[in-house]
């Protein structure tokens, strides 16, 4: 009797387990998908986008994450922006609220690259309920507001403006170098030439805001944005949803006249796997976090859904850095040896579909990238030889530091194996992301070999070389504490090189020197694997902004 009961209990248990497995094993989706609509843009409808996180705030002076910027761009505009195109074309500067991009030829850049003149487009109005016309004075007010905010994280892009530091320190009423020449013209003067300053003017930190609106909403400005852009944020339920509707005052603007959908719904706190299921059920149009890595291959190969997967390389890179102040990484031969020892191709295989191998400092999409250029190949024999020449014929012991967010631990094991193959015994030390981000930047950490990741602030190679390979300071992003006077001299000279082609060549020269000194091992460039619903038209991935929601439409007008 007792045995029979035990058997029955086990059968019940097995049945439960089988049921669970059966439910999870069914992989195919059940939704019906309409065939892709016509390729002509259509007005009307609601675009539904999911995000797992949510913007910390929509105050353009402060916000600095993907979720914030993609939604801010619907409401706030700056003088300049990037062309709304995929690939390399998307890194071209185009005017947004300015009439044209300042160049030496049109007089917009003058005085050897220190004076920048912006002409405001006519008939620009703030969104309802403000409705007033925008003038140059509004730009000055917005900019000074940003520079004065203690929480503004990006003031360092603009401290080279004459009088900016004095203003920030409270020693001046205004920024003397930011001049309102007339109601339609702004002139900015820098302390020293910097052609890349134009890029700093594309960032949302320089958006024009309404003084009247900020006075009206006070601290709520972070939750109640108002600008000149194509859409107005009408509601934000924290943790749940942000809604945007078309701005009636926008259609007067020329180039960026696209406002296809009537409404946009940003659904927040959605797990990326759930978002994919919702899209397959027809409830969502764009996955704000992309396709979850575990589902990527299956979705891409699916005959029903594969055609809605859009992939594009992101302008970012992952790399190893070596601290040139910490033995034995102070020896250039050791650093070069490690470059030969790492098999980056294997990492791409393990991260199937999420990354693209990178053999240089500048990723695809960044001016300065050279297709087919490779500084080091995978050559463990050469690595061993170089180590012997450096005085370490039997390798050495060291520690590899990284954070504990997937896939860093998996990559750490691959690195450990590659190093062991040439005699370097590396133990892995993981820490949580926030801790690691600070740890890696401090001299006292003596972090000899660590994981690095950098994504663009703007699409110019100066954003790569400057923060990462010049002017090392304690707590800064140059975790290799690398400095080479030739690189620094070229970098300073590039700031006043007005010929764009010559300037890019200078950055490629800097890259040659840096890779020769080898303080870094480029590993890969991440790929964004985006997905849209069958009813979404005009979908593409922008190299810098990732999404360009105001250019998408609904093929069925719904």
């Amino acid at each position: 009797m007792k045995t029979r009961r035990i058997v029955l209990a086990l059968v019940a248990l097995a049945a439960l387990a089988a049921l669970a497995l059966a439910l999870t094993a069914c992989g195919s989706s059940t939704s019906t998908s309409s065939s892709p609509g016509s390729s002509a843009p259509k007005s009307g409808g609601t675009l539904r986008v999911t995000f797992q996180g949510e913007p910390t705030g929509l105050d353009p002076a402060i916000a600095w994450e993907t979720e914030s910027w993609t939604i801010e761009r619907l409401t706030y505009q700056t003088f300049l922006t990037y062309a709304s195109k995929p690939g390399a074309a998307g890194s071209q500067l185009v005017p947004d609220l300015a009439t044209e991009v300042p160049t030496a030829a049109n007089g917009g850049i003058s005085n050897g690259g220190t004076v920048f003149t912006f002409h405001l487009k006519p008939n620009i109005k703030f969104a309802p309920p403000i409705n007033t016309a925008v003038t140059a004075a509004d730009f000055k007010w917005s900019f000074e507001r940003m520079m004065k905010m203690p929480l503004a994280p990006a003031t360092f892009f603009y401290t080279d403006i004459v009088g900016a530091q004095a203003y920030m320190d409270g020693k001046a009423e205004h920024i003397s170098g930011f001049k309102v020449v007339d109601p339609q013209t702004v002139q900015i003067t820098l302390k020293k030439p910097n052609v890349a300053f134009l890029y700093a003017m594309t960032m949302p930190f320089t958006s024009v805001m309404s003084k009247a609106w900020c006075a009206k909403v006070g601290k709520q400005i972070s939750r109640k944005p108002l600008g000149t852009g194509p859409y107005i944020i009408t509601s934000w339920i924290p943790g749940q949803e942000i809604t945007a509707v078309r701005n009636p005052n926008f259609s007067s603007q020329g180039v960026r006249g696209e406002q296809w959908v009537d409404k946009m719904d940003f659904i927040l706190s959605v797990n990326p796997e759930m978002a994919l299921l919702k899209l397959e059920r027809g409830e969502v149009d764009v996955l704000g976090d992309g396709i979850p890595p575990a589902d990527y291959l299956r979705t891409k190969d699916s005959p029903q859904w594969g055609k809605y997967v859009v992939s594009a390389p992101q302008i970012a890179w992952a790399y190893l850095f070596m601290n040139v102040l910490a033995k034995p990484f102070d020896n250039v031969k050791v650093r070069q040896a490690i470059n030969y020892a790492i098999d980056a191709a294997k990492i791409q295989k393990v991260l199937a579909g999420q990354t693209q191998q990178l053999n240089q400092i500048f990723p695809r999409g960044l001016p300065g990238y050279q297709a087919g250029k490779q500084f080091y190949t995978y050559d463990p024999a050469k690595a061993k030889q170089l180590l012997a020449e450096a005085g370490y014929p039997n390798g050495f012991k060291t520690t590899y530091y990284t954070d504990n967010v997937d896939p860093q631990p998996r990559i750490a094991q691959l690195i450990q194996n590659d190093l062991a193959a040439v005699g370097i015994q590396a133990s892995i030390k993981l820490m949580d992301r926030a801790t690691y981000d600070t740890f890696a930047t401090l001299k006292k950490s003596h972090c000899g070999l660590g994981w690095g990741y950098w994504w663009q602030d703007f699409t110019d190679p100066s954003d790569w070389i400057g923060p990462l390979f010049t002017n090392p300071v304690n707590g800064g992003q140059n975790c290799s504490f690398y400095e080479n006077p030739r690189v620094t001299a070229l970098y300073n000279a590039s700031n006043s090189q007005l010929d764009p082609a010559k300037r890019i060549q200078m950055f490629q020269q800097m890259e040659d020197i840096i890779m020769q000194d080898a303080p870094t091992v480029p590993l890969y460039q991440p790929i964004v694997n985006g997905m849209h619903s069958p009813d979404t038209g005009g979908f593409y991935l922008h190299p810098g902004y990732i999404f360009d929601f105001q250019y998408y439409w609904k093929t069925n007008g719904q």
Binding site: V270, A434, T438
Partner: protein, 224 residues
């Protein structure tokens, strides 16, 4: 109670600051320069000694000011209140399912101890305790929201649409109900204790069951 709250506040405060991370960097992002971080440190007082910061925090707390979030610059109290209705809805569904599953299962297990039903329920209870809730959540969503579209695929739409809270409440409840029913097989007293703190109604129900069972047993024995 006050002592417990004090230590909870101290512990969470210390956790936040002694984790080794830099709160200014969490606010400004990893690209910020040391000068920017210094400015934020000065603004929020992160460069003051730890006990000074804690003292200021406690002072504001006892005056009803929970401060503002470092990340969103919005008042903390508002942020908690805004999320309260959704939390309350899931919690109520959770309690409902916990009792709806746990009480009958517990009672049957107690009344028919060592029967087949009792053993099956024990297996069910052990599975319920062992299954991680996030996994269970995915299984339920996949089965009952995606494959068989009864429930919505996550989300929340206010108290007028309580259906959004059903699956989350169910997942929460399964773990709790399992514990509940296991506890009940150990004896009536523990159930009585727990339920009496929940609601007198259930106390009455259980008292009836208890007395009824006692009465029927004594009748069988031919007493009274």
């Amino acid at each position: 109670m006050i002592v417990v709250l004090f230590f909870v506040s101290l512990f969470t405060f210390l956790l936040f600051f002694l984790g080794g991370s830099n709160p200014a960097k969490a606010i400004a992002g990893t690209h910020a320069t040391p000068q920017v971080l210094a400015r934020i440190n000065e603004y929020y007082g992160f460069d003051k000694p730890l006990w000074t910061q804690y003292g200021l925090y406690l002072w504001h707390l006892v005056h009803g000011d929970m401060g503002t979030s470092y990340q969103t610059q919005q008042p903390v109290a508002t942020a908690i209140l805004q999320r309260f209705p959704a939390t309350a809805m899931v919690a109520l569904w959770g309690i409902f399912f916990e009792l709806a599953i746990g009480i009958p299962v517990g009672m049957i297990s107690a009344l028919k101890q060592y029967s087949f039903r009792d053993r099956a329920f024990t297996v069910f209870s052990l599975l319920g305790i062992a299954a991680p809730s996030f996994w269970l959540g995915f299984i339920f969503l996949f089965a009952f929201a995606f494959k068989i579209p009864i429930f919505p695929l996550g989300g929340y739409d206010g108290w007028l649409h309580p259906i959004y809270g059903v699956l989350p409440g169910l997942v929460l409840a399964i773990g709790a109900a399992a514990l509940f029913s296991v506890a009940s097989t150990l004896g009536y007293l523990s159930i009585v204790f727990v339920l009496s703190s929940l609601s007198p109604v259930f106390l009455i129900i259980l008292a009836y069951v208890f007395l009824h069972e006692r009465l029927s047993r004594t009748q069988q024995l031919g007493v009274a």
